[in-house]
């Protein structure tokens, strides 16, 4: 257990509504990541953070924003959810240059 929780674990929402997913860690690791997992695509990096208020874009960042105001929390926001953002979202944490450990995932359905 890498001390990572994600909330909510499941969410159904409607197109056009804002959605925020939360990743919380108890390990105080510097690096945190948000991925999405879709059939046939594996995991794709959305955004990552290398410290409080330090974030950068990943491969599929369009339509997503992130914030990290505390070491332990990394928030992913969909400003206006679309059906193409229906997916399973995973958070991961890592020490610099080390293995990434993943949370249990959030299943998001956008109707």
């Amino acid at each position: 257990d890498a001390g990572i929780t994600q909330s909510p674990r499941h969410k159904v929402t409607e197109t056009g509504t804002p959605v925020t997913l939360r990743c919380h860690q108890t390990e105080n690791h510097r690096y945190m990541y948000w991925y999405r997992q879709d059939p046939g695509h594996g995991l794709r990096l959305i955004h990552y953070s290398y410290g409080v208020k330090d974030t950068d874009k990943g491969e599929v960042s369009d339509g997503y924003s992130v914030s990290r105001s505390k070491t332990e929390d990394f928030l992913l926001t969909l400003e206006s959810a679309t059906s193409s953002q229906t997916s399973v979202y995973f958070c991961a944490i890592a020490v610099y240059g080390d293995t990434q450990y993943f949370g249990p995932g959030t299943r998001l359905t956008v109707l």
């Binding site: 491969e59 990434q100 995932g105």
Partner: protein, 112 residues
Amino acid sequence: SQELEQSPQSLIVQEGKNLTINCTSSKTLYGLYWYKQKYGEGLIFLMMLQKGGEEKSHEKITAKLDEKKQQSSLHITASQPSHAGIYLCGADFWGSGNKLVFGAGTILRVKS
């Protein structure tokens, strides 16, 4: 990712049989990570390889990285139902270990 290809996409084996999953990169790898995922759950770290020719084992699972550091294989000996799941490889192309590119995954089913 097209930078990282996994094969096969899916695999059904009889319990007790051996199997191999491959992960092939279009570029030299600084590091290669193997993860396992059970349906509806998060990814569990298995092994990480960094050096050309490196081989690591954990219980009945062995992972190898070729000398050119562009291909890795995951071999399971005497498969069991507990080995079923999705296996993903993740590549570090930049040497920092901070950004990984993942393959599409291999779905493994083990028939009892």
